[in-house]
């Protein structure tokens, strides 16, 4: 640990004759153990609230309100059982997953050709179009909540999964275009040209050769579409009432006449964290590149 956290680039310099002499001084100057302490404190700061949520979800309501304890005294999974057996609860998760998957598929389908166009060709208005796409990422969902509600009501899509999926395209399509464009820029143009000389049609080249080349980029773009659609609440809540109600909106149910059902609320929260935690492992090395819109 202390070795990997030492001075950036200090380790593994081949033929560095001064290495031995410098080790002691670098160690003092960059204080590798200091880094470990900083990281430990930061990660603790990140994990503490999440731990508390998990802690709450494993307690009964009487214990939550009655005694203050750092860990559950009477371990119970009843809160989770409540959610996983009640259709009005777990359908929230199903609804969320349906529109998130739909949104990811739509976003990628339209963003792939567009990103290719932006990365390979220049055409009239390309720069303006690109910035215009970005402006949609900047649009506050609050501005669009009411017009979306009216638009989707008037075309009869209110309270359907596709409505939420389309609404989330507002910010996910620009994002996907940006990320994919960044990855596509890294693929040399010669590959395109060779394929055309070999007689590939555009469609076949794109699917058979180009898409495997940017597979990691597609994965990252999909991950980000998934993520931003999953965490958004304002639009998905405005556009649904019963049939497509997302889990995030269902959680407000825990506020009842007898006060808030803290245990179930916490358990529902924990369950919303799990999908993200599962997918994050696969993209851990690309996540920064994705946030940088493919521009690192």
């Amino acid at each position: 640990m202390s070795d990997t956290t030492s001075a950036p680039g200090a380790a593994g310099i081949p033929g560095d004759v001064s290495a031995a002499r410098n080790t002691a001084r670098t160690a003092r100057r960059f204080r590798p153990s200091g880094s470990a302490v900083v990281m430990a404190l930061y990660l603790l700061f990140l994990m503490l609230p999440i731990y508390w949520l998990i802690n709450m979800s494993l307690k009964t309501n009487t214990e939550i309100l009655g005694t203050f304890s750092l860990w559950p005294r009477n371990l119970t999974f009843e809160n989770y059982a409540t959610i996983l057996t009640d259709a009005s609860w777990y359908m929230g998760y199903v609804n969320s997953l349906i529109y998130v998957v739909m949104n990811t598929a739509i976003s990628l389908a339209v963003a792939l050709p567009a990103a290719y166009a932006f990365s390979r060709y220049s055409f009239v208005g390309d720069k303006h179009l690109f910035f215009w796409l970005l402006t949609n990422r900047m649009a506050p969902p609050a501005v669009f909540a009411l017009p979306f509600f009216q638009l989707y009501s008037s075309v009869g899509l209110f309270d359907t999964h596709i409505a939420v999926a389309l609404a989330h395209c507002l910010f996910n399509v620009p994002l996907a275009v940006w990320i994919l464009e960044g990855f596509m820029r890294g693929v040399p143009r010669e590959i395109d040209e060779t394929a055309y000389i070999d007689g590939y049609s555009f469609g076949r080249f794109f699917v058979k050769i180009f898409m495997p080349l940017i597979a990691s980029g597609i994965g990252v773009a999909a991950f980000f579409c998934f993520m931003f659609s999953w965490v958004e609440l304002l639009l998905s809540r405005t556009l649904t009432s019963v049939d497509a109600k997302p889990i995030a909106a269902t959680m407000t149910r825990t506020v009842g006449a007898a006060g808030i059902d803290w245990g179930v609320l916490a358990a529902a929260g924990v369950l919303t964290i799990i999908p993200g935690a599962l997918v994050i492992y696969f993209v851990r090395n690309y996540i920064a590149k994705g946030f940088a819109l493919g521009r690192v």
Binding site: M1, T4, T5, P8, G9, A10, I13, N22, G34, V38, M39, Y42, L43, L46, P49, I50, W52, L53, I64, V110, A111, P113, A114, A117, Y121, F123, L133, L134, T135, M138, A139, P140, A142, V143, A145, L146, P147, L151, L166, L170, V177, R189, V231, E232, L233, L234, A248, M251, A266, G269, T272, I273, G276, I280, Y281, R284, I287, K289, F291, R295
Partner: protein
């Protein structure tokens, strides 16, 4: 990179154009429509000119919300950017611990925003929350539903918790792209730690850092769900930021005209500031010869 001129590329962009037009231009035009019309009900609208804009520009409510919003975004950026860079500098470079840090740090970013609010609600409550209980036990008067200062602190700490990792991840990616040779040169020159940071790491991170600042600015300016869940905009109007105020006005009171005018001005402010960041970013890209 030299790109070929090809107007047919428009066909490849067309699907995006149609989709975004449906989900952005039509709703935006609806907003424009409302902003210049008034109604007495029954869906009868008449032209109202720029009355609503004038009304909103003179309304104290909007200026107050804007003021709170600017203060909030400024504090957020002032804390998260340096802290994020600092964390990135201390992250392990490779191996198991690097992956471990990446995964744990990304975790808050993937939690639905209202759950973030819920987490901090549970964490901060005086009766059942670890934070609230501890602060209360050591004699600090902390109650985020009533105290102005406590509410602000909670909202800010929550946002720092939620988003600092984003800045850190981007800065970390920027650091990773620095070749070892730079550090070796610095070592030969006996450069101090500060000099290494100032003349090697910071310039190399500038590009990604601009993206981080752009994203953090945009998202903090649009913040709605987290403070809404934790404080509901209170106590009083203490944490009523622009989006919260707008939703109150549009969906709560159904004041469509003023809300629409408000929306447009809100959008324009974000657009203007983001355009500045974007221009700086593109120029940085060019200077690096990409």
């Amino acid at each position: 990179m030299n790109k070929t001129v090809n107007q047919k590329a428009w066909f490849l962009v067309l699907p995006v154009l149609v989709l975004v037009a449906f989900s952005a231009v039509i709703p935006l035009m609806t907003v424009v429509n409302y902003s210049v019309q008034d109604t007495f009900g029954q869906n009868v609208f008449f032209w109202n000119g720029i009355m609503w804009f004038e009304e909103m520009l003179n309304s104290e409510r909007m200026w107050n919300a804007l003021g709170r919003q600017v203060v909030f975004s400024a504090i957020i950026l002032a804390i998260e950017v340096p802290l994020g860079v600092f964390v990135a500098l201390n992250m392990p470079k490779k191996g198991f611990w690097a992956s471990f840090c990446l995964v744990v740090m990304s975790l808050p970013l993937l939690i639905p925003w209202n759950v973030v609010g819920t987490i901090w609600q549970i964490f901060g409550r005086v009766d059942i929350g670890l934070l609230g209980y501890t602060l209360d036990a050591i004699g600090i008067d902390y109650n985020y539903t009533q105290g102005f200062f406590a509410a602000w602190t909670t909202v800010i700490v929550m946002d720092v918790w939620h988003w600092t990792s984003l800045v850190a991840l981007l800065a970390y990616a920027g650091l990773q792209s620095i070749p070892d040779a730079y550090y070796q040169a610095a070592k030969i020159d006996q450069a101090s730690r500060w000099a290494v940071f100032r003349y090697i790491e910071l310039p190399k991170m500038m590009g990604v850092l601009m993206i981080a600042i752009l994203l953090r600015f945009m998202d903090s300016f649009m913040i709605y769900t987290e403070p809404f869940v934790v404080t509901g905009g209170g106590p009083g109007n203490a944490t009523t930021f622009l989006s919260i105020d707008l939703v109150k006005m549009a969906l709560g009171q159904f004041d469509l005209g003023p809300a629409a005018a408000f929306s447009l001005m809100y959008f324009l402010v974000i657009l203007a500031i983001s355009w500045v960041f974007y221009t700086v970013m593109v120029n940085l890209d060019k200077r690096e010869g990409r």
